[in-house]
Symmetry: C2
Subunit: 751 residues, 2 copies
Amino acid sequence: MPALFHIMTRTRHALEWQVGHAPQLGTPPALFVPATVPGAVQLDWARAQGWPEPAYDPDIGKYRWMEDVFWRYRAVLPDMAASANTRLFFVCGGVDYRYQVSLNGHVLHAQEGMFTPLDIELTGIAQAGDVLEVEVFPAPKSCESGDRVEANQSVKPAVSYEWDFHPRLVPLGIWEDAYLEQRPPAHVRRSEVRYELDEDLSVAHVRCDVFVSHARAGVLQWRLAGPDGAVVIDHTCTPDAPVVAMTANVHRPRLWWPNGQGDQALYTSTLELMDAAGAVIDSKTQRVGFKRVRLVMHPTQWDEPEIQVFPKGRHTSPITVEVNGRRVFAKGANWVSPDIFPGRISRATYEPLLALAHDSHFNMPRCWGGAIVQKESFFDLCDELGLMVWQEFPLACNRYEGTPEYLAVLDRESASIIRRLRGHASLALWCGGNELFNNWSKMTDQDLALRLLNRNCYDLDRERPFLMTSPMPGMAHGGYFFRRDDGAEVYQYFAQSKNTAYTEYGVPGSAGVETLRAIIPAAELWPPRPGTQWTTRHAFGAWQHNSWLDLHTIAHYFGEPATLEQMVEWSQWLQAEGYKAIFEEARRQKPTCAMALNWVLNEPWPTAANNSLVNWPAAPKPAMSAVADSCRNILASARVPKFAWHAGEAFTSEMWLLNDSTEALPAGRVEAWIHVGDTRTQALTWEHSGAAANTNVQGPALRVLLADAPSDRLTLELRWVDHPERNSSYHLRYFATRATAGEKAYRMGGV
Amino acid sequence: MPALFHIMTRTRHALEWQVGHAPQLGTPPALFVPATVPGAVQLDWARAQGWPEPAYDPDIGKYRWMEDVFWRYRAVLPDMAASANTRLFFVCGGVDYRYQVSLNGHVLHAQEGMFTPLDIELTGIAQAGDVLEVEVFPAPKSCESGDRVEANQSVKPAVSYEWDFHPRLVPLGIWEDAYLEQRPPAHVRRSEVRYELDEDLSVAHVRCDVFVSHARAGVLQWRLAGPDGAVVIDHTCTPDAPVVAMTANVHRPRLWWPNGQGDQALYTSTLELMDAAGAVIDSKTQRVGFKRVRLVMHPTQWDEPEIQVFPKGRHTSPITVEVNGRRVFAKGANWVSPDIFPGRISRATYEPLLALAHDSHFNMPRCWGGAIVQKESFFDLCDELGLMVWQEFPLACNRYEGTPEYLAVLDRESASIIRRLRGHASLALWCGGNELFNNWSKMTDQDLALRLLNRNCYDLDRERPFLMTSPMPGMAHGGYFFRRDDGAEVYQYFAQSKNTAYTEYGVPGSAGVETLRAIIPAAELWPPRPGTQWTTRHAFGAWQHNSWLDLHTIAHYFGEPATLEQMVEWSQWLQAEGYKAIFEEARRQKPTCAMALNWVLNEPWPTAANNSLVNWPAAPKPAMSAVADSCRNILASARVPKFAWHAGEAFTSEMWLLNDSTEALPAGRVEAWIHVGDTRTQALTWEHSGAAANTNVQGPALRVLLADAPSDRLTLELRWVDHPERNSSYHLRYFATRATAGEKAYRMGGV
């Protein structure tokens, strides 16, 4: 009996893969090397050649030719015990990017697009010893520009065609699990739990769609258990058709809340297919989180004065996130792929990064359209951690023209993406892609690609918000430097901006010393110079000016650094304070502003300098903890007007209470202290009268003449009496000398 | 033989309708009166009561109760000769608004929505003497607000719930043709010709989809004949399935151009179904015009300075119309229903109005979302006259919440509208509705209703542009007065606006004396006072201020009028000059600005005053010919700074050449003359160097001290030497007295 039952349930069989390349389709590779699946052809080839780990390889250019050949994976089917009616399938989560699948040289399936999974039945046509092959075409290129424009007619993420933080290296190959699966004659082909919430959130109308192998396949039992394990739905049916929908209501469902706003209540749906004897033949589980997300206007947007006079235009796009009826300020970061090679990303890759995001009080990663749509485990973790995912489709910074060929691939790929992700509690909103309405992309509302994405999201996931792109009207991207060309610092130019959401902005920071030693050869390490590995690792010439090391700005405030360690310290100081200034300024602009998402949390390989808060793979820079402080639900915050101060100058700052919590704060006291060297001055005591839930309060402005003190640093410390967990501090540049007029103009961040 | 052929083709049978009302569904009406179909229950009832024509009825309020009862149409089926296999259908183009169709008391069909036609097979279930009934439900109301808000959960046009130019009168009933049709057993159920043009417009890929009654129904012959009658496609096939698609290419198709840009080349498709003997059993004809319309950005929009600095937002929406690869400035007017009762609109109703539009050099009517989607003959005429139709769905100035019930009706109705109209050459673009993103509507990009409309347009008519609403970012609606509250006149406030399209703006004008005598009782005619028929007819209190008669503005420039005739003259003078100023200013702002569409061309009943250029039914006001002058493809134009001038003042104006034609204009001479009473002064001679095709040229500014002359009028005349058809003149207010300081401030339109 046990043996029989074993055969009667699903059985996976791993395949032993090899891979090789050839200049043409159909030409057998001259050499096959062992392949790791999931993975990438580049990794397999590098391993066979004994090349170093690509993340630390100084010669990343040697991978370039691999884009332009045909790669062939090959596996010999193993011997598999099977009962008479067992069915056999080749299952694959995704192949990057265009490919065909053959059995003994006969093409079974051809596809363009890495996001649509495969499930090919081999029953009756395959036997042990047969050769299964996956032939991968060269990387898609619409032209020979050598940059991201080549990706403008494919659904291949553009980032790998080179970006300011990503080398030119276009991965190819089987990037998701691939295996053989034996299934009993009666099995569940697919099932999905979806729900609709009543307007007042009191009832969830839950529906389980089940596709079984055939009518009268057995008895279906569907159970939904609450976060505490209690079963709230228990439904049995005997389907007389291959498709069946079961429905049930959950009254007063426990709601899923984002990080910092409540629990991440997750229900578990279990679907079992049983035979006549009651034995379980097949089963599916899915986690369900009940939540409703809407994008709404900020409270005063409909009444802004500039649109009250004829001729009148229209309002900006809504971008305030309302979760379960509550407006939630979105705090977080842009997310890019945590590895050049998506095939080697796993839950273990995501865990430390998302833990950092969670612990930094983030509630929203923006999964940027230049990168891949992440793997399931990313969304599983976000479900658990309360991270609301802003998910973009793979379009970024290009004009994706709506040719019939492109639209056909985008249609299928986007539908696959939507179907895969829509069940996740963490998924908050869809977005067409990155910066498509900006003048480097030149797409508009009229573009068929974006209208198609709206159509698919409407048809397949109607209740989730859909944005055509970011930024939409009212929102803004940038800047990406501590100090702008015109001398404006982040302190000033964000205080002067009045946007509804800051969905990208960056302050560059050097990698840590240890990372730098790992990626820059010792001979090139000091001083950093263009044309060396510093350039390869994005310290120079990556984008505008001397990005991303931005030595010019470091020198502006501190002079030339004498050592690597000093340079790293100064760079990271600027990054930490710059990010702190922006995150808190965006929060102070609530409720007009509803989002602060910096560019960028992580990176796909170790850079020497970048806007990232984390060095590859998951090493936080000092800015990460500064940002974590700025994103606490409740804190005392200062609107500091500039970074550099001189002895004798009047130091000023506005005091604020920031409150993103559901808690109304009682009256209390905040003290402002100024530290310069050993000198400690109490600058202000603010007897505040508290703050309503989810509401900030502006307080008094302090003004203190700075005494002379031998120090290069001024620290403004805000102490929330009896609540040290709400204290804040700002570390600013101090000059013990009096400023000359020229210095004032040059260094004071004036606009 | 002839008799047999007669029976073997389609035969229509008119029905004799009666109509009555009852308080409940299912309750038989106490009284039936004769009904005209198409028509409206209100018209039938009024006729039976001997009430006056509603357009002239001073007591329009007596129709109010008719909204809230159930109306029942009844017809007895006539005796119809039929051969054995003849099939019988009840065909109806549309019933306004919710209804059910019954035969002998048995409900055959129930529907909400006036735009989805009916085709109900009665074969075998109906015979002579049976009673066919259409029961019409009360007008849809989501609430009891008494105004347009009641229409916010239906696809019933909102205008009839009361607007500033439309009385409260909600029409109901069978508003399109309704008849019985006998069809031979083999017939064409539906056919449609569509095409795609190559990017370079050199080849049209034409496709004819045919749905026949059954497989092997006969032989299909499809012919497409050019505007000159020459057959360019001649295709025969014998369908072996009930659906067949025939395709053919037309090389170098003659293109359809809008009015003023070229010919309106219309091809004719003829589809014939023939029996084995070659006799024609059934046929369908359709006109086809080959054109491509896109909405594109104006040439410099991607480089506007305000979006060049980080943080950066996004660009405005594209609104420049590109037809067949050529940017065409859109000139025209908003279009509202030409009658309160859509059921009595016919081609004859449209003809004089659209002839006026055409002869005024208009190329675009904006079919405003508050009104119905017009009947076929409207689009037929637009096809012929080169009028590019901006077609909105029936949503206007409301928040249409995306409830499942509303979305279901909107889905079906919008799909019916798209399928009906997409074959028209004149149809230029789809728009979700009127002012939905403004703060009186509060809809946004996130609204499901608009996402649904975008979806349906994408699925059913992908190549036509789709706008969510008007205005979109960059565009503007308003103002609606010659002189704004702050004293700014149209001369100033349009010169200061920088919008990409003016898709609504109005200047009110009195009806002509004859119309006023027809709608205002003699006792109330002079002087006009609120609370009389003047108010009913929108002269007072229709919208803001004393709209639409705007006596205050008349008095401001002219003093109190002594007679009706004088008031009408002054009101119409302001309207004509005001519209002239706006149309020409919008044109001068080309290419940033791409559209000038005034509010409004026509009106649904005779008003005493309105922004309309035409009094109901089709009587042009003087402003119509002024606008026609301003819309000539080529003219000399003056940017006049204000309306009122005093003796002794320096008169100034900028000279322009406006050229919307495809013609490059050679160098020439334009003279500016000023006429005050009998005084004629040549103010300027401009030796211009011509203008490129589709390009305006700014010239010099004239400046002339105004002499004293006994007159109330100053005329600026521009003479294009040797081209009198390009001359322009501007009639302005002149005061023979020197202005006092107070007068200057009060009357000079200063902002």
